[in-house]
Amino acid sequence: MNWASTSDFFAMGGYGFYVWGSFLVTAACIAGEVVFLRARRSAALRTVRAEKVRHETAA
């Protein structure tokens, strides 16, 4: 085991800012992309439903 305590782990041997700055921004980007993808899918489905209604009323 590399770490003596939790605070030791978060300190990262004095490099906490750089290490956590890298990992947290990566996690935030991925989480953000997942949220954007969900939103894009719902918006696309709304468009499909609107088109469907338009087609059905036109027919």
Binding site: G14, Y15, R49
Partner: protein, 249 residues
């Protein structure tokens, strides 16, 4: 399916690829989550402290996988774009567009984590050297590809214009990869190579490769999710999208 042969072209139309992609996403997403958990465990708890860099080297577990993905995804994106250009298939261009934002994200993360690693190691966040500059060019190629496509009203014309840009930009990928050999740069040489033994501890290498695999699985899941949304957006006027169960209500 006849004679045990899979008819791949059957999946070349959005309407048959859409449900297939939908079934694949949970598998790739689950694999990505499990591999990330394993990779982070190895990276933080199994891999030892580096003798020269101390704990700052742990940035490698996101930096190298993100950089690899940014280059690999560009080649895959350009490949799909080129197929679309050559055969004019609808799905190819959609796949290329689905990959671009994820590739751009990894190019950004490569630069971001590189900056945060460069500061404690080299004493600077940024330097205009060959490796860093060519990676920045890669980010701009992704952004240029997306901007060019967005700027052209007719999607099919946009597909072709963006495909040409993507194909021309492929030249940048080997430049990034070999930049550390061709020029005198601050960036270190390749840590992993197919021709010689890796220059790092086995557990460090394992952690890095597991994280790379995790990013790979994530990228596939994200690209499939995005291509499904693109199919719905572009084909909202077509009968097959109206018949989808999720289009009911």
């Amino acid at each position: 399916m006849t004679n045990g042969v899979i008819h791949w072209f059957r999946y070349a139309s959005p309407q048959s690829f859409y449900p297939l992609a939908g079934r694949m996403i949970p598998w790739f997403a689950t694999l990505a989550a499990l591999l990330t958990a394993a990779g982070l465990w190895i990276g933080f708890f199994v891999a030892p402290t580096d003798a020269q860099q101390g704990e700052s080297y742990r940035i490698i577990f996101v930096h190298v996988p993100a950089s690899w993905m940014s280059m690999f995804l560009y080649v895959v994106m350009a490949g799909w774009a080129g197929l679309g250009l050559a055969f004019n298939t609808r799905l190819s261009a959609m796949m290329a567009h689905a990959i671009a934002p994820t590739g751009a994200m990894f190019a950004f993360l490569s630069l971001w984590t590189g900056a945060l690693w460069g500061r404690p190691t080299w004493g600077t966040y940024w330097v205009w050297d060959a490796r860093l500059t060519s990676e920045l060019v890669l980010l701009f190629l992704y952004l240029g590809y997306m901007a060019l496509h967005a700027a052209i009203d007719d999607p099919r014309r946009g597909d072709r214009a963006a495909a040409v840009l993507a194909l021309v930009g492929v030249i940048n990928v080997p430049i990034i990869y070999f930049s550390v050999q061709w020029w005198n740069t601050l960036h270190q040489g390749a840590s992993v190579s197919l021709t010689r033994a890796p220059s790092m501890a086995a557990t460090m290498l394992t952690g890095m490769l597991v994280m790379a695999l995790a990013f790979w699985m994530y990228s596939i899941a994200a690209a499939l999710a995005r291509v499904r949304a693109i199919m719905l957006e572009r084909e909202a006027h077509m009968q097959w999208t109206h018949e989808l169960p999720e289009a009911a209500k």
